[in-house]
């Protein structure tokens, strides 16, 4: 087959990938989109098997089969709560694969004498981006899986150290390209691995949705760089699509937290949290109103509209099924029930939507913050389950609050607000929340799942 024929089939794959992503504009078209993307991948892999560089199939089939078994088992077993970790882990694989392909391509081309400067620049970029993606994603995985402390790790001169490493990598890159020095490539790859770690450790738990999106973007750029080394248009197309996807998600996440991308990258946010002082002490002194389950049941059963605001706490307590039961009881009583989702609720973009979908909550009652915020003033009861910072009115009014300027869900505008909370602990960002002491708000203490089960049962009898 001529290069044109390969390019033609790769182009078809690229178009199918694009259509796959386009399908995600609506849940109805998304499934078909995914199938198209799968087809695109099938065409891509099949086409590649005809490449003259492929001189045997045994190892290829073996590698693909092992990967398929591992991938499918993980995909079937993974708990939806753990999706952010899984995505981070997958990013790390792309990163490492990019490094391996870059080094392998270099050695392969050196063996056949096909080395030139442009190729070496591309290999340098592929190895560098891949390596940073790999270790950065491993650290993100560790933080999300709670194998590592989610608090930011900051040390003096951190940014200087990172900058120094970046400069050394660049110098080694120039040496590699200019003198065809393999050792330089290896050393710069190793330093890039270290840089991936030091770039992600200062970023705290609250910023994890941005980190996951950002690494998504990096994994795309790594694939694109690999595409340049191989002169493969499909890798370039795909890398560009994935790279821009991650970049847009990072932008959306930053905007939803009112953080600049640079300040997230520089890290250190939430560093003071958990340092032994109790950010909720003030709230406790002011006195919060504690409500019994029966109070909430009475108010909700007689409401005409209830909006539920779930946060990551709901997922931790595995309360989504109990929440769905509660929704159904309310609906059977003629109460309108909706869900309000903040863009950064959960630990990755869209995480809450998946958790609710898993519990069979129909997607059309789940609305985004911007769609639903105007409805709170006509809402009888806002029920907050395991969310904290995203409903904190201080973000609007209190200039000294670290959350100031962040868009929030206007739960406080509802006639009554009930907050299911396990304890008087601060949110993920470690910030005080004045909603808890507001006149129209009361707290229901206890495990989110148990509370929701009690609410559902009591509503059933009400």
């Amino acid at each position: 087959m001529s290069a044109d024929v390969f390019a033609f089939f790769y182009l078809i794959s690229g178009v199918l990938f694009t259509l796959g992503l386009k399908g995600l504009s609506h849940p109805e078209s998304a499934r078909r989109g995914n199938t198209m993307a799968m087809l695109g991948m099938g065409i891509a892999i099949f086409t590649t098997l005809f490449d003259p560089n492929v001189k045997g199939f045994f190892l290829i089939i073996l590698a693909l089969a092992i990967g398929a078994v591992i991938g499918i088992i993980i995909a079937k077993k993974i708990d939806m709560k753990a999706m952010p970790q899984l995505v981070a882990a997958f990013h790390s694989l792309v990163g490492l694969a990019a490094v391996l392909v870059a080094i392998g391509t270099y050695l392969s081309h050196r063996a056949t004498g096909n080395i030139n400067g442009v190729l070496m620049i591309e290999l340098f970029l592929g190895a560098f981006i891949g390596a940073v993606t790999f270790t950065g994603s491993v650290i993100a995985f560790g933080k999300l899986q709670e194998l590592l402390d989610s608090a930011p790790v900051v040390f003096k001169g951190q940014h200087m150290v990172n900058a120094a490493m970046a400069i050394i990598i660049l110098i080694l890159g120039v040496i590699f390209v200019a003198t065809d020095n393999f050792t330089a490539l290896i050393i710069l790859t190793v330093i890039s691995f270290v840089l991936g770690v030091t770039l992600i450790i200062p970023i705290g738990g609250a910023d994890m949705p941005v980190v996951v999106s950002m690494l998504n973007s990096y994994s795309g750029w790594a694939a694109a760089a690999t595409g340049f080394t191989l002169n493969n248009i499909l890798l370039i197309i795909t890398g560009a699509l994935v790279g821009s996807s991650g970049a847009i998600l990072s932008y959306i996440m930053c905007k939803a937290m009112n953080r600049s991308f640079i300040s997230v990258i520089l890290g250190g946010f939430g560093a003071e949290a958990g340092a032994g002082d109790d950010p909720m002490a003030a709230a406790r002194q002011k006195g919060v109103k504690e409500a019994a389950v029966d109070d909430a049941v009475f108010m909700m059963a007689n409401a005409s509209k209830v909006i539920i605001i779930p946060g990551y706490g709901m997922a931790v307590a595995q309360a989504q099924h109990a929440v769905k039961d509660m929704m159904e009881v309310l609906q059977s009583k003629g109460v309108e029930v909706k869900f309000a989702i903040h863009p950064v609720a959960g630990r990755m973009p869209g995480h809450m939507n998946v958790l609710l979908a898993e519990a069979d909550v129909p997607y059309d009652v789940v609305q985004e913050m911007e769609e639903i915020n105007s409805e709170f003033s006509t809402t009888d009861v806002a029920l907050i389950i395991g969310a904290n910072d995203v409903v904190n009115p201080d973000a609007k009014t209190l200039k000294s609050s670290p959350l100031y300027g962040m868009p929030i869900i206007d739960a406080y505008k509802a006639r009554l607000v009930f907050i299911c909370k396990r304890s008087m602990k601060a949110g993920y960002a470690g910030v005080d929340n004045s909603l808890f002491t507001a006149d129209n708000a009361s707290l229901i203490f206890g495990d989110a799942k148990t509370t929701c089960e009690k609410l559902a049962a009591a509503l059933h009898d009400a």
Binding site: L21, L59, I70, G220
Partner: protein, 113 residues
């Protein structure tokens, strides 16, 4: 090769032979335009499906498997084979795992009866 010879060689490759585009330039054109396509397509994705979006982009970035396949059986050295094999294996986890988990997630999204 000296540095200046290297740069000269690079500029020849980058500019092609005058008659046709260099592979780099072709790649750059494809890359830039694909970024624009990506930009517009991704802004249309509903926020409710951002998690499946990340999972499916994971899966399609596993297309790097193509790069690994091109070297694993290229018979250009034992070390190249190892690198290609592990690259293909890792990317394959991404491809299969990514698509399957996306499928599983999307199946959960149902409309109100």
């Amino acid at each position: 090769m000296t540095l200046s010879a290297q740069i000269m060689a690079m500029s020849t490759i980058a500019s092609g032979d005058g008659a046709s585009l260099s592979p780099f330039m072709t790649g750059l054109i494809v890359f830039i335009l694909s970024c624009f396509v990506g930009y517009h397509v991704i802004w249309n994705v509903t926020p409710a499906l951002h998690t499946p979006l990340m999972a499916v982009t994971n899966a399609i970035s596993g297309v790097i498997v193509v790069g690994a396949l091109l070297i694993v059986a290229s018979e250009t050295g034992q070390d190249v084979t190892y690198l290609g094999f592990f690259g293909a294996l890792l990317a394959s986890i991404n491809v299969f795992g990514g698509f399957m988990v996306t499928r599983r997630m999307l199946a959960m999204f149902k409309k109100q009866k």
